[in-house]
């Protein structure tokens, strides 16, 4: 061996002979998996250049591009709810009732599942009109399906069971006035009460298409970097950051500091592929999102709008 390794030519030959054999085909099932993931993955429409041999643009143009990207993210934030609800892999299971046709002006009820509990536990819907339940599932690795039962215990609506779907929309057919039980089909103790035809006691009156109470954005971490590096939310709203961890086996998390370095959010890191971090409404301003496991991994969060009186 050492005889061969006495000069670069010897090393050349040794390395080529050594490296040549071995697997050279990606297994078919892995290729199919990649194509399937691509099928569920949206492309990023960023203005950042990402090519070989490209010449960096002048700083002024880069700033302009960054500003444009920020505007894009801001405007996309208004649409992100509708765009994200149905994303994600689903594993349909079990019987379900036929989906209702819900008009675009129908009432939308926001619901979250956290630690196998509904938040809130009391929901309010209009009588005799279809409505939608939009659900943010923070227990991402837990299967979930919604079921609504009347006071006689009869099932009036049952969705399919799915795992790993973080945001789902359930179109519920019209129900007569009454009080119904709503529960997770998989975990019946995850339950709440659906009040149909009665006004919410402390909240605003029922209205068609009420403004969503929270927003949602996806941040990907891969190769020790966040993508995108700038996100924006409207002021005064609770929101969710969904962290997609592409660094297999490596823990990542989300922490938020304000401009003075004051902690606004501290959450544990996870090596799981998807983690959801609920963030309470924050005042308008610029914040730093970073990975507590690797503080050099950073992004900018801008909360836009007026804080009001």
């Amino acid at each position: 061996m050492t005889d061969h390794a006495t000069d670069d030519r010897g090393i050349d030959r040794i390395l080529e002979a050594w490296l040549r054999p071995g697997p050279s085909d990606l297994p078919d099932e892995r290729f199919a998996s990649i194509v399937a993931v691509v099928g569920r993955t949206s492309q990023r429409r960023r203005l950042r250049r990402f090519g070989n041999g490209s010449v960096p643009r002048p700083v002024g143009r880069r700033l302009a591009a960054a500003a444009a990207a920020l505007l894009l993210v801001t405007s996309a934030g208004a649409l992100v709810l509708g765009a994200r609800w149905s994303a994600g892999p689903a594993t349909p299971a079990g019987p379900s009732t036929p989906e209702a046709t819900v008009p675009p002006t129908a009432t939308v009820i926001e619901l979250a599942v956290r630690d196998l509990a509904f938040v809130p536990t009391d929901l309010y819907a209009p009588a005799d009109a279809p409505f939608e339940i939009r659900l943010a599932d923070e227990d991402t690795q837990v299967p979930l399906g919604l079921e609504i039962l009347d006071d006689a215990g009869r099932s009036r609506y049952a969705s399919e069971v799915a795992t790993g779907v973080t945001m789902r929309t359930f179109p519920v057919p019209a129900l007569p006035t009454g009080t119904y039980a709503i529960r997770d089909r998989v975990h019946p103790n995850t339950s709440g009460v659906l009040h149909v035809g009665s006004a919410e006691p402390t909240g605003p009156a029922l209205s068609p298409s009420p403004a969503p109470t929270f927003a949602h954005v996806v941040i990907t971490t891969a190769g020790h970097a966040f993508t995108p590096t700038a996100v924006s939310f409207p002021v005064g709203r609770r929101f969710f950051i969904e962290l997609h961890n592409l660094d297999t086996g490596v823990s990542h998390g989300i922490a938020i500091d304000d401009a003075t370095g004051t902690p606004m959010l501290r959450a544990g890191a996870s090596s799981g592929p998807v983690s959801i971090y609920p963030v309470d409404a924050m005042p308008a301003g610029s914040y730093v999102i970073f990975d507590p496991a690797d503080p050099a991994v950073r992004a900018t969060l801008v909360v836009v709008g007026s804080d009001g009186p």
């Binding site: 061996m1 050492t2 390794a5 006495t6 670069d8 030519r9 090393i11 050349d12 030959r13 040794i14 390395l15 080529e16 002979a17 050594w18 490296l19 040549r20 054999p21 071995g22 697997p23 050279s24 085909d25 990606l26 297994p27 892995r30 290729f31 998996s33 990649i34 194509v35 993931v37 691509v38 099928g39 993955t41 949206s42 492309q43 990023r44 429409r45 960023r46 203005l47 950042r48 250049r49 990402f50 090519g51 070989n52 041999g53 490209s54 990907t220 891969a222 190769g223 020790h224 993508t227 592409l246 660094d247 297999t248 086996g249 490596v250």
Partner: protein, 208 residues
């Protein structure tokens, strides 16, 4: 370095070298379609490339499963970021770069977690050659895993993928001269590691 020996030919389209030795003819229409969100076009692009990229990743990481993971991460990230690729003719170099970065990230993780020594099974039907015996291959495995991930990348791109230094420079995004000096250094480190292994002094100490 033996620069006189013939290497793999550079594929060209319309007389212009494309992919700079990536061994692949770039279908610009497919790349353009994929950039515009055509998943079928992207799958078609991958169909002819995934095997080679996996082979490169596997040789850098010396672990088939981690190589699969790295390639999957890279190809999904490449799809997401494809709209930002400005020059479709550079698709192959860009894709190699994404895969190499994924391998580097994977290798660093591996190194952090544990000093793994994963050795390739010797495939007699495919992998045996007249030049190296099993003992030598094991010594090479040990020496190679002593290298920094960046050095492994250089050696694989050069001696497995058959890329010229200019093409490696394009993949890595560093100057041509930097590749040459780093490649020379990687050869020296590899040689030192092999010599140390032969002396039975492999365990402990640095190799270069």
């Amino acid at each position: 370095m033996n620069t006189a020996r013939p290497r793999r030919p550079i594929v060209s389209v319309h007389g212009v070298p494309l992919g700079a030795g990536m061994g692949q003819c770039v279908d610009l229409q497919l790349v353009e379609a994929a950039r515009n969100g055509d998943r079928e076009a992207y799958a078609e692009l991958l169909r002819g490339r995934a095997g080679r990229l996996y082979a490169i990743a596997q040789r850098i990481l010396r672990d088939p499963e981690r190589a699969e993971d790295a390639v999957q991460d890279a190809l999904v990230l490449a799809w997401r970021d494809l709209p930002a690729l400005r020059d479709p003719a550079r698709f192959d170099a860009w894709l190699h770069r994404v895969v190499v970065h994924a391998c580097l990230a994977e290798a660093r993780r591996t190194r952090r977690m544990t000093a793994r020594l994963v050795e390739l099974p010797v495939d007699i039907a495919v992998g045996r050659d007249d030049y190296l015996d099993v003992v030598e291959r094991e010594a090479l495995d040990r020496a190679f895993l002593r290298l920094a991930p960046e050095q492994r990348v250089l050696l694989v791109l050069r001696h497995y993928a058959g890329l010229e230094t200019a093409a490696i420079a394009e993949v890595l995004g560093v100057p041509h001269g930097t590749v040459r000096s780093r490649l020379h250094h990687a050869h020296r480190v590899m040689r030192a590691a092999l010599e140390a292994d032969a002396r039975g002094a492999f365990a402990g100490g640095t190799s270069a």
